[in-house]
Symmetry: C2
Subunit: 227 residues, 2 copies
DNA sequence: CGAGCTGTTGATCTCAATCAATCTGAGTGG
DNA sequence: CCACTCAGATTGATTGAGATCAACAGCTCG
């Protein structure tokens, strides 16, 4: 019964969308369910992982910590996304710590199962490569942000991610998590993040109401972000 | 004749080490030689690439530039390494600019050839995945450096990369490129990089002589790097 | 020689971090 | 229903690391 359950869950994961039922069946024995509560740790930095993780529901944060205990969020993994692929392929210790942001369910797929699927279906390998490539690009984007953009530009860049160019010039972005986490994600202190939002609000570019942020003029916001 | 040449070059690339002669032969038609001189641009940020690049000799820098023209080196690609894989798999515009650091020779392998090799040989796909995974981890390391390490820690971390733990407590590291480039790689200005080296030299941790840097006590350097 | 890199040194400035106080609102329990 | 708590968020004052600006030294190479 848990087996049937797992297969259904697997079938709904974007990563496995193009796999046949037979391939999903072959995968299932190598899958372990991982349930966790808010703030529970999936693995610590330095642990060895035997397989990649898929998020069924709940969110997971990947973070690093300095020797002084300052924590820095690298990424927030949403349902349908995966993590720890790179660690699985390399067999090296995890460079980050993974922790539930809220109660959730993960599937851990062991390396041998992925290997089998890759051998059976080259398109699956391609999908994995595309996934890692996207991750890579977003990390390059992060490096770029941290190294050559100001705090204001980082905040605007972040907000613009969530803006839909198709929609009107004015639109509301709701922050997916609390401001402390976003500040960390942007490599800012919560204080600075708050100040930047206020300053942009004073400049008439946006309006803040709790976690809802209204971009008042998309074009102006874009122009500001590039200045 | 150029064909024979290309095959020999391909055979010597780490990425293709486990391929059979027949697979190399199959690859060859999809390969283009790219010769370039120092400071010549391979592709600009925003260009679309039709395939990945292998460095036969010479070195290539990947960099980004801010709107204000500040350049930031993301990575320095050495002979035997590859770049632009992620762009190839995604078909998206390049997020970085690639430029020869000295006269060199690249091989551009078009996506279809890579696809064929992946289908023929699942182990090749695995090797590609491992390569991207390593790239990913080193970028995480970069993000970590930029976000939670001080300039001194970044410099020491960089130098320690080149130190051999097996060797004695004292060893010489020769910088692979000029100090301006390394400073950029570490997200420092050349001025700050120079000052940090001096300060470490004053502290008795190392001695600087042009591009040769002698780490005087590896353990102390490690301890300092973690402080 | 002088032009042009590469690297060093000094003075100053600036952005964001830090430290500290306060505020808000959503629970929690009496 | 209200007092209490406590995490999240804001605001102000101060600090500091590293950038910036500027001058200059050493060198290689035409």
């Amino acid at each position: 019964m848990s087996q049937i359950d797992v297969r259904a869950l697997l079938r709904h994961q974007p990563m496995f969308h193009q796999l046949s039922d037979a391939q999903i069946d072959a995968l299932a024995p190598g899958v372990r369910e991982v349930r966790g509560q808010k703030s529970q740790v999936v693995f610590h930095r330095g642990d060895v992982c035997e397989g990649l993780y898929l998020v069924v529901y709940g969110r997971v944060k990947l973070s690093i910590s300095s020797a002084q205990g300052v924590e820095k969020v690298i990424e927030i993994i949403q349902p349908g996304q995966s993590f720890a692929e790179a660690v699985m392929f390399l067999g090296t210790p995890c460079p980050v710590t993974a922790q539930f942001l809220e109660d959730g369910l993960l599937l851990q797929v062991e390396a041998s199962a992925i290997d089998r699927a890759m051998t059976d279906d080259p398109a699956f390998a391609r999908r994995l490569l595309a996934g890692l490539s996207m991750r890579l690009h977003s990390l390059i984007r992060d490096v770029e942000r941290y190294s050559i953009e100001s705090s204001t530009q980082r905040v605007l860049g972040y907000l613009l991610q969530y803006a839909d160019p198709e929609q009107g010039a004015q639109q509301v972005v709701t922050l997916p998590v609390n401001k402390n986490l976003i500040a960390s994600r942007l490599n800012l202190t919560p204080e600075t993040f708050s100040r930047v939002l206020h300053q942009l609000s004073d400049a008439g570019l946006l309006a803040v109401n709790g976690r809802d942020i209204t971009l008042l003029d998309l074009d102006k916001v874009r122009a500001f972000g590039c200045g």
